[in-house]
């Protein structure tokens, strides 16, 4: 189903933000919308957006490929994106990540066997004073989790796994 049919209100609201000559600006918010349900953007969604904005599919794909918050293949329903950049690393983020991997039994970049969670290392998230920290990216958008411990994180992951289990 096309985005305009599936989310008529959201699509209309997005398009209303930009002037007619700047219609292409809507590509980024539309991609977030397309990604909402499955956590990734498939080819038909890219075609749909290209048609809606009078640009080529390649131009849409180029945007998907350039930005790290867009994904073009199915991975975990939720992504846990831990900042391991310099300021966080100075406050223990690397050890936090190692411990988290050990607890989950997966490596950075991997997805848990039930498909619930993908663990990723990311660059600065503007929360350097609250390390260790990460964001979750999932069907309900992006949320920050700051001043975290491995125990608190494992608890959160259990909640996420349950939520995914229930929707299956």
């Amino acid at each position: 189903m096309s985005l305009a049919k599936k989310y008529p209100k959201e699509v209309k609201q997005i398009l209303s933000k930009y002037p007619p000559e700047g219609k292409r600006s809507a590509v980024m918010p539309l991609l977030f919308l397309a990604q909402r349900e499955e956590g990734y953007i498939n080819k038909s969604a890219m075609q749909d957006i290209a048609e809606m904005l009078d640009i080529t599919e390649t131009e849409v794909a180029a945007v998907v490929g350039f930005y790290t918050l867009y994904h073009d293949k199915k991975e975990g329903k939720y992504r846990i994106q831990v900042c391991t950049d310099l300021p966080c690393a100075l406050r223990g983020a690397e050890k936090f990540m190692d411990d988290l991997c050990a607890n989950l039994g997966i490596k950075v970049g991997d997805t848990t066997p039930d498909g619930a969670v993908t663990l990723e290392a990311v660059t600065c998230l503007a929360a350097c004073d609250k390390a260790p920290m990460f964001q979750t990216q999932g069907p309900d958008g992006i949320k920050y989790h700051e001043n975290m411990t491995v125990d608190k994180t494992m608890e959160l992951i259990r909640t996420l796994k349950n939520a995914v289990g229930e929707t299956k």
């Binding site: 700047g22 590509v27 918010p29 131009e59 930005y67 310099l86 406050r91 503007a126 004073d129």
Partner: protein
């Protein structure tokens, strides 16, 4: 001293419209629209000495005065892409004192004749964008946004726009590309945005903190603002303090505050009572300031004085590095960041960050030689002055200053 930007720390609920209004909110905007000519508003900002808080420190009023009045419509864009490692001030402003920031955007829009303003937030600020959307809707309802404001002919609308994870979009022309729905790659300049900006139209882009200063300057006057800070750097600045300190966080202080006051008086000193080995005053884009004698810490933090230490104040994201940190590790970190964030448009940056990351990885991993350290320095210096935008330049800062000022750490890493 009373807070000027982080007022939410002193006034509870100032992120709610009635409280903001009760504390003088939107009086400056109303006064500007109903009683001042746009050029007069720009003149006040110019006279205040306000300089851009995003890192470059360009005089704000002067930027506004460059807007091309022969080409219409005009746009104002707020740069809320805050992505420099070590910087987390804009987020606090937008969460704690959002209306002051939005009022600043509105005043700037009036000053340059823009009827539409966009707030470009990094994609990670998802929840923040939703909250700003609510604030913008409240402003519309209260008559601070919309058509014929305060009974005049001036109209203004404001929209948020989310990026999707790309440090380069903090560079203003890359931000514009991104806002236009393209990959965020910098444009060749000139022309600069006040001549050719969003959709090819004259555009003023400022950082969130810059905008947040504007209502206070309009309300209290340019002279008042200049009583704070130094002659070169007027006013207050939010210093984002991170790294090996006991109390990391944002500290709003006048320009000219010393590193020592920031780190010890406000930041509670260094963790485990270690000593400061190096300071990065502008986040990962900084040259490393070598702290080899105690006097360095007494340097006042303003644009001109920090430069005498061979570094830039930038966005004042002060990362404190203590004597337990090996510089080959640190430089490996910053280089990987820039390699990841290089947009790939220009060759020196795309290839340079790639090769530097191979070298820093090898050196830090204990597989390098002294010749690798020399080669790394050589690659970094070859990149300097040749990149399309500042990102490429920034990627070399920690490398060159790290090797030149902390050579022993690199020699130790390759000897082991």
């Amino acid at each position: 001293m009373a807070q000027i930007l982080l007022r939410h720390r002193e006034i509870p609920d100032i992120n709610k419209l009635p409280v903001y209004k009760k504390n003088g909110g939107f009086a400056a905007f109303k006064n500007a629209v109903t009683k001042m000519k746009p050029a007069e508003v720009t003149e006040v900002v110019k006279n205040s000495g306000l300089r851009g808080r995003g890192g470059a420190g360009f005089p704000t009023g002067m930027k506004w005065s460059f807007i091309d009045n022969k080409n219409w419509p005009h746009y104002v864009v707020a740069n809320a892409d805050e992505s420099e490692p070590g910087t987390f001030k804009d987020r606090e402003i937008m969460e704690g004192n959002p209306f002051q920031f939005l009022e600043g955007v509105a005043i700037a829009s009036y000053a340059v004749g823009a009827n539409v303003a966009y707030v470009y937030l990094r994609g990670e600020f998802w929840e923040l964008a939703a909250s700003l959307d609510e604030k913008i809707a409240e402003m519309e309802e209260a008559g601070y946004l919309g058509d014929k404001l305060f009974g005049t002919n001036y109209s203004l609308r404001m929209y948020t726009h989310l990026g999707a994870g790309a440090y380069i979009c903090g560079e203003e022309t890359a931000l514009l590309e991104s806002l236009e729905g393209k990959r965020g790659q910098p444009r060749v300049r000139p022309p600069f945005p006040p001549a050719v900006g969003l959709y090819g139209k004259p555009t003023v882009i400022n950082n969130v903190e810059t905008f947040a200063n504007v209502p206070m300057i309009l309300a209290n006057g340019a002279e008042w603002y200049k009583t704070m800070g130094t002659a070169d750097s007027a006013g207050v600045k939010i210093f984002s303090l991170s790294g090996r300190v006991r109390k990391p966080g944002n500290y709003e202080l006048p320009f000219g505050t010393t590193f020592r006051d920031l780190i010890y008086k406000h930041g509670g000193g260094v963790q485990d009572s270690r000593t400061v080995k190096a300071i990065m005053p502008a986040g990962a884009s900084s040259s490393l300031i070598l702290v080899d004698n105690d006097k360095i810490l007494d340097t006042p933090m303003d644009y001109a004085t920090v430069r005498t230490l061979g570094a830039d104040l930038g966005s004042a994201s002060v990362i404190v590095v203590d004597d337990t940190v090996p510089m080959d590790w640190l430089v490996n970190k910053t280089v990987h960041f820039f390699k990841h964030e290089s947009c790939g448009k220009c060759t020196p940056c795309r290839e340079g960050t790639y090769w530097m990351s191979h070298l820093t990885e090898r050196i830090h991993g204990g597989h390098g030689s002294k010749a690798d350290v020399d080669l790394l320095l050589n690659v970094a210096k070859q990149m300097q002055g040749k990149c399309l935008c500042a990102l490429g330049e920034f990627s070399t800062m920690a490398v060159v200053s790290g090797i030149e000022r902390f050579r022993q750490d690199f020699d130790h890493a390759v000897k082991a």
